[in-house]
């Protein structure tokens, strides 16, 4: 079924030293922890560390660093650290505990994650992730995270996302909120004891680098507009993903790429921006005014049947369409897997039928997910017990009763696997700047498995970064942080203030929201579920043209000296424009399909993503060269010593 693929050995770009230690992968991290330099407890308080973002990765890192004795300053643009978007994760968190005695192990979680990422992640990082996954569950439980339990009082697990073992821990439908409250509680303890200086409602608008090393950040106070400098020996970016480049996504309204993008412009390479996860089961947009999309758990595909009418432009209600005129296209094309094909396959097929003109709903932008057969087979009560809360969410948003008529679903952007390039220490290409959680690129390759995002955020924050950052800081002993009176800070402050004020003087005619929405349409159409050379080239032109108009014609009302939501938005949208251009280029040059990146030119006979391991078994990391010059591409070659390269097949 799977043949091993041989590939030539290539050298990585000298600019990308992954710092992966030599040795057997099963004890690589353990040995490396011993070989890294330590900072003694009395010296830790001499080091200042800035953590930007307070989701799972940021809160856990800030709390843990403060517990170790570092002087930590944490920043969030929210009114409270607890509101970060990690809070919205529903499903669960994976860990190789093997509590269900079903043959799970660290190695199996490692294996599943590398394979699930379609062989585009770094093996050493993924193995470490699987190793520390078990510690996360211990830590969270001790903090009081109320994971689901069985009647004996022990922790319960569920299976998730095609894994053959039950390794997912969950807390009702709100595992993200509960884990975040756990990390936030650890952070609170440090705020109370003075270990963390917490800055709410401050947005990072630049990274400050002096003589090639990180020395701090520039923030803007979102209540007063004040632009401030903050210095430190190291900066940790835990600022999430860039899914809102699509405008419509399951991300929260304020999620943005600005902190990561500003770091990119200061020298941090940006890796694999073309990798985006599109989740197949979301509620379709209802009109132009739609502000975001809502995810429905993909567990619904266990009982729901997906179909569209065989006729084009069929305006009848589902109930009026006879069986013979329905196309259960997944069951037809993939008889073995049916409605349970992987996320990317389900998403692409939905796009195909909607593009053909067989979409359903008022805007013809969805497919049916039909429970009629399941209800007839198992009864309403059984279906209600399994999916009641999801049906309620659906009914509330759409005003339709899914017990009586099929749900309408369509794919939506959900998670971004690309991000700032980091080495094994989670350090970016700017010494002293680290990226953790969704903000980095490291662990999920070209596709993330369900219930792995929470795992990675907390692994980085609790158990990886606090060790690796010491190795860097140990070399800085005796050096004080660059004072904020230094000209490098003053220049950065002036630049941020200028950039912010500039938007107020454009005085155009259209709102920032208008341009974000228009940008999103291009990115979704051209760099969405299926991409091709022609579309990607057009995307670059279209984005550049719209960006020109945006800069000349955006209208930002209000002033810079008080709370101004429009002013916050416009800067983030400007960075999305730059990111979108790079995303198109990255997708264009990666002339293969892998995981969530599907090039129409590169597919198997069954319509599966067809990798080209000979030419693309690498991380593409892009180096900023200034406003008017294109980024340079660097390649980190990936080696698969343990999980052998193979082509997935659903025959």
């Amino acid at each position: 079924m799977t043949a091993t693929i041989d590939t030539p050995i290539k050298e990585s770009s000298p600019a990308l030293d992954s710092k992966v230690p030599e040795g057997d992968i099963t004890n690589l991290w353990e040995n490396h922890k011993f070989s890294m330099k330590l900072v003694n407890p009395n010296n830790k308080r001499k080091f200042e560390v800035i953590v930007v973002g307070t989701g799972l990765a940021g809160s856990s890192a800030a709390a843990t660093l403060a517990e170790l004795g570092y002087k930590v300053k944490a920043f969030t643009f929210h009114d409270s650290p607890r509101r970060a978007h990690s809070i919205a994760a529903q499903g669960g968190i994976n860990a190789a505990k093997n509590y269900q005695n079903d043959g799970d192990s660290v190695y199996r979680l490692f294996y599943d994650t590398v394979k699930g990422g379609d062989y585009r992640s770094r093996e050493a990082n993924v193995h470490r992730l699987a190793e520390v996954s078990v510690n996360i569950i211990d830590q969270a439980t001790a903090q009081g995270v109320p994971f689901a339990r069985d009647y004996g009082g022990l922790l319960d697990n569920r299976s998730f996302g095609g894994a053959q073992v039950s390794r997912t821990f969950y807390a009702r439908g709100q595992t993200g909120q509960q884990l975040l409250l756990g990390a936030y509680s650890a952070l609170n303890r440090q705020i109370e004891s003075g270990g963390v200086e917490m800055h709410n409602r401050k947005e990072m608008l630049d990274l400050v680098v002096k003589d090639g090393e990180t020395c701090g950040i520039i923030t803007r106070d979102l209540l007063t507009g004040e632009v401030e400098s903050h210095s430190a020996h190291a900066v940790v970016l835990a600022t999430g993903g860039y899914g809102n480049v699509y405008y419509l996504s399951t991300n929260a309204m304020m999620c943005n790429a600005t902190a990561a993008w500003r770091a990119h412009r200061k020298g941090a390479f940006f890796a694999n921006p073309c990798y985006t996860q599109i989740h197949p089961t979301c509620i379709p947009a209802s009109a132009d005014h739609q502000s975001k999309l809502t995810l429905m758990s993909e567990s619904l595909r266990n009982d729901g049947r997906i179909w569209v009418p065989t006729e084009f432009d069929d305006n009848r209600l589902a109930a009026d369409i006879p069986e013979a005129e329905r196309d259960y296209y997944l069951e037809r094309k993939y008889p073995a897997f049916g409605n349970l094909v992987p996320r990317d396959v389900a998403s692409r097929n939905a796009k195909t039928v909607v593009d053909e003109g067989r979409g359903i709903g008022p805007l013809k932008n969805g497919v049916f997910l039909d429970f009629a057969d399941a209800i007839a087979r198992d009864g309403v009560e059984t279906i209600k017990a399994k999916y009641g809360n999801l049906f309620d969410i659906y009914a509330n948003i759409t005003g339709e009763n899914p017990y009586e008529r099929p749900m309408r679903i369509y794919p939506a952007t959900h998670y971004t696997m690309g991000g700032l390039w980091v080495d094994y220490h989670l350090q970016t290409t700017v010494p002293g700047t680290y990226a953790i959680g969704e903000a980095n690129f490291s662990d999920h390759g070209a596709n993330r498995l369900g219930a792995s995002a929470l795992m990675q955020g907390l692994a980085d924050g609790y158990f990886v970064l606090p060790y690796t950052i010491g190795d860097y800081l140990a070399g800085k002993l005796g050096e004080s942080a660059v004072p904020t009176s230094d000209p490098v800070f003053k220049a950065a402050e002036a630049e941020v203030a200028d950039r912010t004020n500039k938007w107020l003087s454009v005085n155009g005619t259209k709102s920032p929201e208008h341009y974000h929405r228009e940008l999103g349409k291009i990115v979704w159409e051209r760099i969405g579920m299926a991409r091709d050379e022609n579309g990607l080239q057009k995307a670059q032109d279209e984005i550049a043209t719209l960006e020109e108009e945006f800069k000349k014609n955006v209208r930002v009302m209000g002033d810079a000296n008080s709370m101004n939501v429009e002013l916050e938005k416009v800067g983030r949208i400007a960075d999305f424009f730059e990111l979108a251009k790079l995303k198109a280029r990255d997708a264009l040059v990666r002339n293969e399909s892998c995981g969530g990146h599907f090039r129409i030119e590169s597919q198997t006979e069954e319509g599966e993503a067809l990798r080209d391991d000979v030419n693309f078994k690498h991380v593409a990391a892009w180096e900023w060269n200034g406003e008017d010059t294109e980024q340079t591409k660097h390649e980190e070659q990936l080696e698969f010593e343990y999980v052998k390269l193979s082509q997935r097949s659903y025959k």
Binding site: D79, Y99, Q143, P146, R149, G399, M563, V565
Partner: protein, 259 residues
């Protein structure tokens, strides 16, 4: 349900900063789809204001799925609007009908100062959390998660409390601006679990005392429960009061002893 378009009139609280006295302004929202959410309706009004060269209405929201607790509006005098068990972002326009007049105000409480228009500061809620909303367990020091069995009933009840999204609707709905429902949810989430026992008495004392520094007194109106988007039970307030009284007579030095 098929989409219909409705026209509504809004009376919106406008206040240009904490020091401004504030006033209502009236806006006509025309041809609003009943499929849009309440906040999307405000987005549309804001875009129209920008088109007309006027300052848009400041309001806060983030996840728009009812979990982050950022959105905070009084809609016709009710925190998060008329529907039970929903945050403002989950309210849809099909709840309203053509010609309706809707009054929108910020969450009002002395401890929630208005920042601008409909945005308020809820920083006082974080202060209560700082005072004891945690179990002391440094990273790396936790025992195996299955070492301690937690009765399912206890775990479920702790989860009921833990559902609180920290939006502050309970405070806004309370005639006394009391924060008992929020504080009790936070305390009980931890106090109901075996892991939370070591700091149980200290936690309840310190969190309640901090709460009283900022918020009003509970006189059992129950408006908090009515407004709560997660329908947190009033029972938790009773549990909190019981623990608080017990904490006052507990000698913590002897608490490690049985009996």
């Amino acid at each position: 349900m098929s989409e219909t378009l409705i026209n509504i009139t809004l009376d919106v609280w406008r206040q240009n900063g904490p020091a401004d006295a504030g006033h209502f302004e009236t806006y006509e929202a025309k041809e609003i789809s009943t499929d849009s959410s309440f906040l999307e309706m405000l987005d549309i009004v804001n875009e129209q204001l920008i088109d007309a060269g006027k300052i848009p209405i400041t309001f806060e929201s983030d996840c728009r799925e009812g979990i982050c607790g950022t959105c905070s509006l009084m809609i016709n005098g009710q925190a998060h609007g008329p529907n039970k068990g929903q945050a403002t972002c989950q309210l849809h326009m099909r709840t309203f009908k053509n010609g309706d007049h809707i009054t929108i105000e910020p969450f009002r409480a002395t401890s929630f100062p208005v920042i601008k228009d409909l945005a308020v500061s809820r920083a006082a809620m974080d202060k209560i959390q700082h005072a004891g909303g945690y179990i002391t367990v440094a990273t790396g020091s936790a025992p195996d998660a299955n070492l301690t069995q937690v009765p399912k009933e206890a775990a479920d009840l702790a989860m009921d409390a833990a559902q609180c999204i920290g939006c502050g609707a309970c405070v806004a709905a309370c005639p006394n601006s009391a924060a008992q429902l929020f504080t009790s949810a936070k305390i009980n989430h931890l106090n109901l679990l075996p892991q939370g026992q070591s700091e149980r008495w200290k936690r309840v004392e310190e969190m309640v005392d901090t709460m009283e520094d900022f918020f009003g007194t509970c006189t059992n109106h129950g408006e908090c429960y009515e407004a709560c988007p997660k329908e947190i039970s009033l029972d938790f307030i009773a549990f909190m009061n019981r623990d608080y009284v017990k904490a006052k007579i507990k000698n913590r030095k002897l608490a490690g002893q049985n009996g």
